[in-house]
Amino acid sequence: MHSLLSRGNALVAYTLSLLACLTFMCFLSTLFVDYRSSAAINTVKVVVKNVPDYSASREKCDLGFLTFDLQANLTNVFNWNVKQLFLYLTAEYASEKNSLSQVVLWDKIILRGENAILDFKSMNSKYYFWDDGNGLRNNSHVTLTLSYNIIPNSGLLPNIGATGHHIFQFPSEYTVSRA
């Protein structure tokens, strides 16, 4: 009756069901946690150019450049079921062509245990701020928000926008020289 095979089978089955149960408890324990947080964002220098976008259409499109300040403390967001935060700074605007455009300008990965207090001054954006037409020049309502995607050990993958956004406008003239 109690052969090596049946003993092994019982052991493996018990271990697996225990692991599954613990994983589920871990998911339940952080299901209703409030992950909201705040950030302070400000733009320092804003410039718009009109240059051909060789990565896409080769037509002349608007390309924005900006440097920004960012302060946020995300230490409280971490708990035992947060493996990683994926932070991203989004520029959101409407133009004549698009009712809504969103462009990620900068992102950062924070693993648990790493420093989660951000204080950046005059940071350059990490990615190009291309519009898919000419919707940036003189655009008076571009919103910058900091959001984060929570990667758990097991569980849901929520995307949360930090409170505290910054609205800025692009200049009415293109910059021709090197900015």
Binding site: Q102, V104, I109, L157
Partner: protein, 178 residues
Amino acid sequence: MIQSALDELRRMNKRQFIYQCLSFGMIVSSALMIWKGLMVVTGSESPIVVVLSGSMEPAFHRGDLLFLTNFESDPVRVGEIVVFKVEGRDIPIVHRVVKLHEGRNGTVKFLTKGDNNSVDDRGLYAPGQLWLTSKDMVGRARGFLPHVGMVTIYMNEYPKFKCAVLAALGLYVLVHRE
């Protein structure tokens, strides 16, 4: 072991054998029903996917399991992790949306990038394709379970292992009596 299983099979009478075959069929069809039911509930053609590459590290590693939804009423936004298919590639890709334009006429186009890749995905798309649209999308990642998908990766990499597992399970169900 196989010998004893075959002996067991030989000892059954006809009715018993048919009953075992039916219960085997029940297991297969209920698994299929669960999968198809999930497809209806989530709106995604593939509600559960296994991460196959390291392009989203350190968030997702090879073998992690993702649960997807694909509701039409819920628009795509930047920062979400989407699973999409590209023409000419069989394997769906799991990457993050980094750019999105919603046109005045309701069309949505978006660009993706893997967290662990330094450039966006235009090089992975079909030749000449610059944007993804909602018809390329399989779903959006909503839930995460680590490592569980490694079993399917091993099965795909070692077809003999897959055959052995399936044969053993099938034989067990056919032979096992309550």
